[in-house]
């Protein structure tokens, strides 16, 4: 059931998740990192689905996001690499901004394989690609669509490209790969804003100043 197989389509992937969750429940022999990865994938899939809803359930989103954060924290501690700390942000901070600014996200050294970069996406979750709007704006933007600027980056590619066996492969290699865990110390910088956000910002500024 869990053996290496062919690359499967998305619908097969979902069926596999259902099979995997019963395997999780019934098998005592599933290795812990595998179980953990399965749960993490399920969480991210759910959040991805919620992102597409007009009004995701805030209670569920918070619970799932906390679970993701917990798993990622555990994975990071296990990797036992020194955490790259930017000035003013501590690794033990529980806020999202704390996590994503700890040096793991966004700036991938070139040459990292697609597989590893997918894993990186999981670890850089949630990526702070959204606009940093003030609270009221976030409410207006339907931030019952959780956390305002809460996004999963490259999420569609993550789901389509990842085959079942790739998930398992990730556990052994990229998590412990020191190349991207410890990029050289960067001077403190504000979180990079994507191009799309810049143009959105411009657009909003235009409306505000009426130009």
């Amino acid at each position: 059931m869990l053996g290496r197989g062919l690359k499967r389509k998305l619908s097969d992937y979902e069926e596999n998740v259902a099979g995997l969750s019963s395997a999780f429940d019934s098998s005592r022999n599933l290795p812990y990192p595998l179980k953990r990865q399965l749960v993490l994938n399920m969480c991210l899939t759910k959040l991805q689905t919620y992102k597409m809803l007009v009004e995701p359930n805030l209670h569920r989103s918070v619970l799932i996001a906390n679970t993701v954060r917990q798993i990622q924290e555990e994975m990071r501690q296990e990797s036992s690499q020194p955490i790259n700390v930017c000035t003013g942000i501590t690794p033990s901070s529980h806020s999202y901004t704390g996590m994503e600014s700890s040096g793991i996200s966004l700036q991938l050294p070139s040459g990292i394989s697609q597989q590893e970069s997918n894993c990186c996406d999981l670890r850089s979750f949630p990526e702070n690609t959204g606009l940093k709007l003030e609270d009221d704006r976030q409410d207006l933007k339907g931030a019952e669509c959780v956390f305002g600027s809460f996004e999963i980056s490259n999420s569609t590619s993550y789901l389509k490209d990842l085959a079942i066996d790739d998930i398992f492969e990730d556990i052994d290699t990229s998590m412990y790969d020191s190349d991207f865990c410890c990029p050289p110390l960067m001077p403190p910088r504000p979180p990079p804003i994507c191009r799309t956000d810049l143009s959105e910002l411009d657009h909003i500024m235009e409306i505000l100043v009426g130009s």
């Binding site: 969750s21 749960v39 399920m42 805030l58 209670h59 917990q70 529980h94 702070n128």
Partner: protein
């Protein structure tokens, strides 16, 4: 127990009034159906009166929020009765955004014999009136009318999960995911915010409010529960904004039960004070806990509702059942607590004898007016006769809403599409 069955739309809330004579249900379609207990029949002294439909009305309609481009569901999340002050009954009903005060009144007489109107309502030509008469009230068939008396709107950005009427009977609270507001029943255009846990930066949000209730006797005290399994007791005399709790109730986690889903299953889905006001009960995914208000560090009693589900958490997470919000209730004397489960099972725990029972609300398995048979779920290993194995439980048949008559042993149990009313067999 004898049973009375009422098919309805998907029931979303069930509540007895203070005397127990009336039972209100709210459904997904925004309707409220009120049942009334028949007056006791002197010849049939072996059973209490049955509940029959008394009034049905449309409480909430679906709305569209144009600003956020969102549809607001008409589903009734909660109903709470006011104590009766005069001939009419009053209840509060709420959907995700708006609370309404409804007046339910009876009309069993109507005026007849107007001079300027015909009996059918048409106006008479005044020039044709030759004699005058005094209109009199004549009996008519009982008509129950529901009219909205107050509409409390636009005070909640997030979804309302609780309403609770204060023991002063003048104010009430409404709670959404992040805020709790205090209202005066007479004033609809403003409310007072008493709890706000929204962080300045929404990305830092890790906890939401799941339920809130006023203390039954102290009009300054209320509690609210959270998604992290904590309960905070607040005293409104301490400060205007009750962001700092007076008491924090939290049980440290049992490390042997730790799993990826620990936080999710610790989320409290319901909190209810005992009638005495000395205890409160919380429901999380797998258990019911009784807390003594004087002891914050752990509950005084814990009852496992369906511990056999602990080994199935991943599957229950995958199909979202792990997020189901079960409610719980006390009996009138606070000696028994009740809550629902899956497969149309519901559970009762006797706090004195420490005995518990599992019953099933189902048409197929129970003939009307027969005593309910206790059920048992076999967690693993050999299944005895009449036991049900965990794997054959139907997780679509969930009992989320139950209510217990305030004085008698009559319970209302809502399955997805049916309301069951069970009564103790009187000997």
């Amino acid at each position: 127990m004898s049973e009375h069955l009422h098919p309805t739309d998907i029931i979303s809330t069930v509540e007895f009034n203070h005397s127990g004579e009336l039972l209100a249900t709210g459904d997904k379609g925004g309707r409220v159906v009120i049942f009334q207990q028949e007056q006791e029949n002197k010849t049939q002294s072996h059973s209490r009166g049955e509940y029959n439909v008394y009034s049905t009305f449309q409480s909430h309609e679906p709305e569209f929020d144009y600003l956020k481009s969102l549809e607001i569901e008409e589903k009734i999340n909660k109903i709470r009765w006011l104590p009766q002050k005069n001939a009419a009954q009053f209840l509060l009903s709420t959907n995700d955004k708006t609370i309404k005060l409804w007046k339910i009144s009876e009309r069993d007489k109507r005026p007849e014999g107007y001079n300027l109107k015909e009996e059918d309502g048409r106006y008479r030509d005044p020039t044709t009136v030759t004699t005058l008469r005094v209109p009199v009230f004549r009996p008519m068939d009982l008509m129950v009318e529901a009219s909205p008396r107050r509409i409390f709107a636009n005070a909640h950005t997030y979804h309302i999960n609780s309403i609770s009427i204060n023991s002063d009977y003048e104010t009430y609270l409404s709670a959404d995911d992040l805020r709790i507001n205090l209202w005066h029943l007479e004033i609809t255009d403003r409310s007072f915010n008493i709890v706000d846990i929204k962080p300045a930066n929404m990305e830092e949000l890790t906890e939401v409010i799941t339920a809130a209730e006023f203390h039954p006797n102290s009009c300054n005290t209320f509690v609210y529960s959270s998604s992290k399994g904590t309960i905070r007791l607040c005293d409104m005399r301490a400060s205007a904004l009750c962001d700092r709790h007076s008491k924090l109730f939290e049980e440290p986690e049992d490390p042997s039960n730790r799993s990826f889903f620990s936080e999710i299953i610790s989320s409290i889905s319901d909190v209810k004070f005992s009638h005495s006001g000395r205890y409160m009960m919380t429901r999380d995914y797998l258990s019911v806990k009784i807390w003594d208000l004087n002891m914050e560090n752990r509950p005084v009693e814990t009852y496992q509702v369906h511990e056999y589900l602990r080994s199935k958490l991943c599957s229950l997470y995958e199909n979202d059942c792990i997020f189901d919000k079960f409610e719980c209730c006390w009996n009138g004397s606070d000696s028994i607590v009740m809550t629902g489960s899956y497969n149309n099972f519901f559970r009762m725990f006797d706090r004195n004898t420490k005995r518990d029972i599992t019953l099933e609300a189902s048409r197929e398995n129970n003939k009307p007016r027969t005593v309910l048979k206790p059920r048992k779920v076999c967690a693993s290993g050999k299944r005895k006769k009449d036991e049900i194995s965990v794997d054959s439980l139907d997780f679509n048949k969930k009992i989320l809403h139950t209510a217990w008559h305030p004085k008698e042993n009559i319970i209302a149990v809502a399955t997805t599409n049916n309301l069951y009313i069970f009564q103790d067999k009187m000997n």
